[in-house]
Symmetry: C2
Subunit: 504 residues, 2 copies
């Protein structure tokens, strides 16, 4: 998830989210004045929610999400945008969604980048000989065939790098960024911008401390981007341990040799994967549930974002099997190329620009499917009140919390923040960034019971919103809302242009 490091706009939104989000817990907001009729209507879904929960946590679907996900990642492993393997996995999903008798199963083309990792070696020559674990960040250029050998300069921050003495010292050096981890949203800027910031001062490569609160000599990849008129230098992740070691060595002469081979091939066609349960009354109106099917090329993308993608489509499969057809259409979308910069959702947004007014609520799970706690949302006040009523029904799985995050939720769906009301899965994901974008993102992180509960929550919330007599309120309180998302699109386009995402 949250592969938005290369887009300042969204990083900023995330930061605002982190600062402003507020756990409301089980209490319905005092500002709520929902009609007693609406409250009664929501509560009338109690037996339906119980049926959904029971079928998934005790009934025929118990363990189903885990089993399908395990089969999937064991079959395909990692699913990097641009690879045939991702496309094969999408074909597999299209077949599987049809097997579960969902409606309107199809793929929607998206042009995606195709970057490939090759040989990667790092070696410290001074002050003592040792291997240094390195992992190229997405879109990184390689070194010459013979590698790069240079002295190392360690900085703790961009500010330190930009001080004149450091700035001059960086010329011809390999710059190590040994920042303190504050939060992913804050610290990821070193990963996304480190190489170009170092290159401005003449650095020949950037070694960026992995963005994580915990390390077992663990390398984390992720997106990064270059800028116009600045040389493109290799951008590599190193471990927290080695970043701190280099910091201790800073008083000595440090020499490192790197050999990194990467390839940037022609852009290829991937697909967003779509399946629906057509609404019985207002089929053109849509509640969208989602996760992304692509992953980085390390680990197998079981957590990021196999879990989110699989609870999304499996929620629909369960509802279909239970004969629960909502008034509005439920649409599952498994985004492609999220990791390279929300590529799939941007194409979806473009292709469906004229239909966005019919999408009444968007959901995405891309921050873990650990034990679910409730729902995080970005809506107006009235929308929040409705969601607070809905999650009360999730008491049987102890998932009744809500968090209001006006800065946006999800990763892909964050592009619709303040345009379409949205929700994401609140879950016990305190270890999420331990595993994120690493070889440790495997089925071992996933728990069958947590996945069951996540699917149950996902299915329940999506179904009720899609079935309520009242369409989900589109207002965002003080800020005027509009279906015309041209402003956002322009911001995105500017950002894309600035970061050369199109030239990946």
């Amino acid at each position: 998830m949250v592969n938005m490091g290369n887009r300042l706009l969204i990083t900023l939104l995330l930061f605002i989210t982190a600062v402003t989000c507020d756990i409301i817990d089980n209490e319905v907001d005092d500002a709520c004045n929902l009609s007693s009729e609406l409250i009664a209507e929501i509560q009338s879904y109690g037996p339906t929610v119980e049926k959904i929960i029971n079928s998934i946590t005790n009934g025929k679907f118990k363990g189903g999400t885990y089993k399908e996900l395990s089969d999937f990642v064991d079959k395909f492993g990692s699913r990097l945008a641009g690879t045939q393997n991702l496309e094969d996995s999408i074909d597999y999903m299209l077949n599987l969604l049809q097997k579960y008798e969902l409606d309107n199963v199809h793929g929607e083309d998206v042009q995606v980048p195709h970057w490939l990792r090759g040989t990667e070696t790092g070696e410290m020559l001074e002050p003592r000989p040792a291997e240094v674990g390195v992992l190229a960040l997405g879109n990184s250029v390689g070194t010459p065939d013979e590698g790069i050998q240079a002295e190392v300069l360690v900085v703790r921050s961009f500010d330190e790098l930009d001080q004149r003495n450091f700035s001059e010292a960086a010329n011809g050096k390999i710059v190590v960024f040994n920042f303190d981890y504050v939060s992913y949203g804050v610290s990821v800027s070193y990963r996304s911008q480190g190489a170009r910031r170092a290159a401005r001062h003449g650095a020949v490569a950037a070694l960026i401390r992995s963005v994580t609160p915990f390390s077992m000599y663990t390398l984390h990849t992720g997106s990064q981007s270059y800028e116009a008129n600045t040389p493109r230098i290799p951008a590599l992740s190193i471990t927290v341990e080695d970043a701190r070691m280099f910091q201790r060595y800073q008083v000595k002469k440090i020499v490192v040799k790197l050999n990194i081979q990467t390839q940037t091939l022609e852009r290829t066609i991937s697909r967003n994967t779509v399946a629906e349960i057509t609404g019985s009354q207002d089929p053109e109106k849509v509640v969208l549930v989602s996760g992304h099917l692509d992953s980085w090329d390390v680990g197998v993308g079981a957590m990021d974002d196999g879990g989110g993608a699989f609870i999304s489509w499996y929620a629909l499969a369960v509802l279909k099997s239970l004969g629960l057809t909502a008034k509005r259409t439920l649409r599952a979308v498994l985004w492609t190329a999220e990791e390279e910069g929300l590529i799939g959702v941007q194409e979806y947004n473009r292709a469906h620009a004229n239909e966005l007014n019919n999408i009444t609520f968007v959901m995405e799970s891309d921050e873990g499917t650990f034990t679910p706690l409730g729902l995080e949302y970005s809506t107006g006040t009235r929308g929040g009140c409705i969601l607070q009523e809905i999650v009360k029904l999730l008491a049987p799985i102890n998932a009744t919390q809500t968090v209001s995050s006006p800065g946006g939720v999800g990763s892909d769906i964050s592009i619709w923040n303040r345009i379409i009301p949205g929700g994401s899965l609140l879950n016990a994901n305190d270890k999420y960034f331990w595993f994120h974008h690493t070889d440790a993102d495997t089925m071992d992180v996933m728990d069958p019971d947590a996945l069951d509960k996540s699917t149950a929550l996902w299915a329940s919330v999506a179904y009720i919103i899609a079935d309520l007599s009242e369409e989900f309120p589109r207002d965002f309180d003080t800020v005027a809302t509009s279906l015309d998302n041209s402003v956002l699109l322009k911001k995105l386009a500017d950002s894309v242009a600035a970061n050369k995402i199109k030239k990946l």
Copy 2:
């Protein structure tokens, strides 16, 4: 620590320890009947212990253990037996111990094996192509230059392997051991014996799940050994994640290709590193404190056993600086080649066979120097009672617990179990085996305050035992004790012969 996997005897002792050890906590055993004079004498060390603790946790030695350890591992990195790097690190220590004005600083020669890791690659070809992380276990032979390619057979236990259907199926296969982790002492048998057990059935290589309760795709090395009349096959560690993945794939055809290059060179001379504070009254009587200076070749051996070695000599350095000379001699020994099978201590035992009766108490820290909790010990009842009185004085650092482990304590010093009373550092080491024998064994695992407290405990306990008017009681209750350790030596010799340790 605990590199005794290749010796059934000691593994068994560990197992017994795990089963029988009993946390006595802060209560002095009911069976104690120490004289009021002895109790008063022990309690009279209160001001001395306070002085030691204050000087280390608040005074001039604060942070000293961490600083010295950090300088050491940053200078030398890992310290594998047989390497010049280990010998250089021993020279450095001899200089350092002299700088701290300890007495009788010297090295004592030990012949050690010299095994070296080379190229290591693992690749799954079927059912899907993927890299497989592999790490040769100590003493492993390599593959032919062109590697080995074979089908995989997964077993959960030795019992399963030895069942006839599996046993026959293993022929020509790469055997994966996917055991459940029970405890290190129990589960390590798969690492130490897996290759030879698989080879008995004609396997061409053994892939052994890393022995750990927690994994982030983490590879753990460690010792293993071959047996006579069974082919020597490559013995490799794989991650918990991949072991479980292979288990899921067991119903399919799994093909793996391995290329492992290792070298077994001529045995070389290493050294146990010794320093003392000569006793003022009975200098021939010795309390020995220890840890091992060598490490595996992954990580930097900061935890295993940099911490244990450094609290041992630093405890003496502090006592020396404080002018605290005990009646008996305090001797720090930094063992060499512990990891290859307690090689250093065995040579010490041989060379000092005639003086062992003068060693009144042995201490070793080789299971972490996290926040200390107290002392684990293997003594008779009266010895335990004395230790329980002593640790009461450690209340200022909350380290007053004792655990009686009649099966033995420490790793090196376990060879003297039931021969010389011993103690090891009880500490909050629940994550010890997360990092053990991995690239993640770095300074980041170490905490300056925990090291300070560990040093303070170590210095206090050793000093009191060395200074008490009563020599530490050598009795082991029901089992007759003797200074003649010929029985144990014979058992060790048998074990060494059986495992061909001498032919490493």
